[in-house]
């Protein structure tokens, strides 16, 4: 599925080097520890404050309290606590105020609220730091495992189609790339392809026997899989065969023009190549049947096709286009594209990249025959 897309693969380890991530994680942990210590401090204040409030409430209950007064470091003497309702409250900055117990309690309450708000802000900060630490530890493990980040361009068209056929057809599609000649026709046929695909799917199960058909089907499928979007570059090789081919494909294979040759060739090749692969592919298509016949005839032509096809398909989609076209013409020979496949299959297996095949195809000169030869090698 991804074949047509271009993407970059970056190892997470390169983006976030493990040691640095480790250091950053440690730093964050230290910051968290600091904040936790501060939080403890504040919580102790809060606890003290609450105790004080209770005491302040309790003291005025009696006129005077009997207590043991500390005397120096290691002595006490019995004494009495009087003026139980008068408190000298420290307001801050060395300022004291004389207040009653109720007023003192109020002051303490206000102080407690301020402390609580401080505690809340500290806790929020700790939470943020923890989230950061989690992220770091995660990236560390990921980088250690060797996870990679893969970015690909999003190609909208027909991506779902590709997925449908991705299985067996993948190989074929690579072959199809070469069939550039059909690109233009392919575009037109794409719409048709959908219909054909459905037919294929239905027929697939039933038609294992019809290998020929398979190949033709494959062509269609393959082309189908490839995203429609890529048709572009092949034009160079294509030039010759394309214009006529496109038209021919659209109309009918029978036209017998050069295009047809291409198609049948391709089809033949495809047939050969895809026979095994495509057993599953929906051969049931009517078009396939027709193609089969056609292909046989065209075999000699395939060479022709191959070359043109190969040259044209710089991109996978193109390949698809072409095969699809022939199948689309259905009933006619999708020829040309099929032929390509066989060639492509070999090359594909070796290179497993459309680009290589396209390169191969691209290198051919105007003469299709020469290309064919090159491909054969």
């Amino acid at each position: 599925m991804e074949d047509t897309r271009r993407g970059t693969v970056t190892s997470l380890a390169s983006l976030f080097p493990v040691e640095e991530a480790q250091k950053a994680a440690n730093r964050v942990q230290d910051a968290i520890a600091e904040k936790r210590a501060e939080l403890d401090h504040l919580l102790r204040f809060v606890a003290d404050n609450n105790n004080l409030i209770n005491l302040v409430h309790k003291l005025p209950e009696e006129l005077s309290h009997e207590i043991m007064v500390p005397f120096g470091k290691a002595a006490f003497f019995p004494g009495r606590l009087i003026h139980t309702n008068e408190f000298l409250v420290l307001l801050g900055e060395g300022y004291y105020a004389e207040r009653t117990s109720k007023q003192t309690a109020e002051i303490l309450g206000r102080r407690g609220k301020a402390l609580d708000s401080q505690v809340d802000s500290l806790e929020a900060m700790i939470k943020d730091l923890q989230a950061e630490a989690n992220f770091f530890s995660q990236t560390i493990t990921e980088a250690a495992e060797g996870l990679v980040e893969i970015r690909e361009d999003y190609i909208e068209k027909d991506s779902h189609k590709e997925e449908i056929k991705s299985g067996p057809l993948k190989q074929h599609t690579s072959d199809l790339e070469k069939t550039e000649a059909d690109n233009e026709e392919y575009a037109r046929i794409v719409a048709r392809m959908d219909e054909l695909e459905k037919e294929e799917l239905a027929a697939e199960s039933g038609i294992d026997n019809e290998k020929d058909e398979q190949t033709t089907e494959d062509v269609g499928d393959i082309s189908y899989q490839r995203p429609v979007g890529s048709k572009p570059h092949n034009s160079e090789d294509f030039h010759k065969s394309t214009p006529p081919v496109d038209q021919a494909n659209n109309k009918s294979i029978a036209t017998g023009s050069a295009e047809k040759h291409d198609n049948p060739d391709i089809a033949d090749q495809l047939n050969f190549a895809s026979l095994d692969l495509q057993s599953n592919v929906g051969e049931g298509k009517n078009a396939a049947a027709k193609k089969v016949k056609f292909v046989d005839h065209r075999k000699p032509l395939t060479h022709h096709e191959e070359k043109t096809v190969k040259a044209t398909t710089a991109s996978k989609s193109e390949v698809q286009h072409q095969p699809s076209q022939p199948s689309f013409n259905s009933h006619k020979a999708f020829t040309g594209s099929i032929v390509e496949h066989t060639e492509n299959l070999k090359t594909l297996n070796g290179q497993s990249s459309s680009s290589t095949s396209s390169q191969v195809s691209g290198s051919r000169p105007s003469k299709p025959v020469s290309r064919f030869k090159m491909q054969r090698r």
Binding site: L88, V89, Y95, Y96, R99, E106, R111
Partner: protein
Amino acid sequence: MSSLTSAVRDLQRDLENKTNDLSKLQKDIAKNHQVRKKYTVQLGENELVLKELDLLNEDANVYKLIGPVLVKQDLAEANSNVRKRIEYISAELKRLDATVQDLEEKQNSKKDAILKLQQRIQSIQTTKGKA
């Protein structure tokens, strides 16, 4: 070649000086931050005190702790004192802010100069290496 090496040495000495200046600047900035923190805390405390003083009745007794002595103070007087202290602290903070800005700018320019020096040294060394 020798001229190159001497040039490199000069540049390196220059680099050392600049790095020293930079570290000094950084220390100043750190000190500044500390002082700022202290002032900020004091400012907060004083504002609290002011709030409480406002809540007091007119006849309440206010004492100020001067050393070991607790001195009775007038409420109005205490109020004004606290207000003045708050103003003073805010002014100090602003001044410190300006200084820290200044210091940071200087620090950045020093960093740039150091970078450039380093690049020059590297380029000279590579040319020396080639030669």
